[in-house]
Symmetry: D2
């Protein structure tokens, strides 16, 4: 297995919340990250769709990982925006993120989130945001 993917899987496994959600890093190389989340009943909202918070988590975390692929592992998402496109119902969420532009301390990235249902993928959310090396974002590292 590729070194970066191996390191990424370890990082994801060390995030308790990612373990709770059941996220898997299914692709990771320089400028590219893919997170897959099997859809379980506990990830849903009251109408039977995947909760928006899960989709946001997927986008946010895929953005962080892809930013880390060019900036190094000590990164955080500084900010992002997301547009939800359709309700997500199916067997898995797949978040795919790419780097649009990277500087020395920050990268601007995009992530598309798909839902897999009966073997067919549909785009269910799109996002765009900034990933920063820790200590270089607007975050105070208290």
């Amino acid at each position: 297995m590729d070194d970066l993917l191996q390191l990424g899987k370890q990082a994801l496994a060390s995030q308790s919340f990612s373990v709770l959600v059941g996220a898997e890093l299914t692709g990771y190389s320089r400028g590219w990250a893919e997170l897959t989340i099997p859809i379980t009943p506990q990830l849903k909202q009251q109408r039977g769709f995947v909760h928006g918070g899960v989709i946001s988590y997927a986008a946010d975390n895929a953005l962080t990982f892809v930013g880390g692929s060019v900036l190094g592992p000590a990164v955080v998402t500084s900010e992002y925006k997301i547009n939800y496109l359709r309700p997500a119902r199916g067997t898995a969420l797949i978040a795919r993120a790419t780097v649009v532009h990277s500087g020395k301390t920050q990268a601007v990235c995009r992530c598309d989130v798909f839902v897999l249902d009966e073997g067919k993928e549909s785009l269910c959310a799109v996002s765009q945001g900034t990933i920063a090396r820790i200590g270089q974002s607007s975050e105070s590292q208290a």
Copy 2:
């Protein structure tokens, strides 16, 4: 207990993911919503802070609830953006959302997310987004 708060608590309890995260609706009236999430180990990332995905969930869901307080219960978050301000460490997250402007089918809302640590609140994220009545967003309701 206030009727709207009671209805909101039922709605939140019917979201499996909100139950998984442990969110509580601690304030709900026309144009105002407050979600509180006790910080547990399973909500954290690898550096011991609350995972950004939890903060996003809190903002997203508080935005949806506050939008629903003026538009009625059948609403979704169409889109939002969030800026993270500082790492969140403490005993609880508190997301407070207000309505900036509402039309017939959509509302623009803001949400500030605080972390409570040793009795002191710190602002850890700010967000802004659009909540839409179901069937009135850009979402296809497949």
Copy 3:
């Protein structure tokens, strides 16, 4: 000339502010819009680069046009976000917008803004937003 492009050029010519900025619609078809703005001294800021407000205008307007290509001409930009990637210096700005997803009353679109300098294009900003049919956004149409 293609009908949609012809109609788009007329719409742009009827926007006083677009005339003031000097924007030209250089591509327009279903799901695709391209605005070009020759860079003149009056579009700059104090360090000799194109003012961010011009880049925002370009993104915003290209988003509106591309949304209109699928929703019909009576549309407005409801919201968008933009990330600036590098200072823009050169001879022209080129904003290229596409539709990511469209429903009955709204469309989610993306726009990339390039600067042309000595024959070479560089990406200088990326944006993402929602375009709505008039009367269907969160806007009150007072």
Copy 4:
């Protein structure tokens, strides 16, 4: 006149595009900036309202100025999002920006844009974004 306001007025006057738009800095202190733009025919779109690009310019520039009030004058807007709330018609746009949080190299700020019509102000757009010291954003300073 206050020193910061005086310096800010000089900075604004050195932006050709701000002169073209007719923007005035009408308030400027640490953590606070107000830009006023008299509404002239050349700032409009085809339906007689202020062009969204002007509102975006106002928000973007007020955000930059308010960020500069805490970070120093060499700043740029890295990114922002804006929601339009209602069509703007009247005699002036007034953009008021505040600092939500500032670190060493970046600040997260909000800006509300009002339109003044017959002596009455209405909120017509809300925005939120990140301002960075030059050399500290994701921008390459080519």
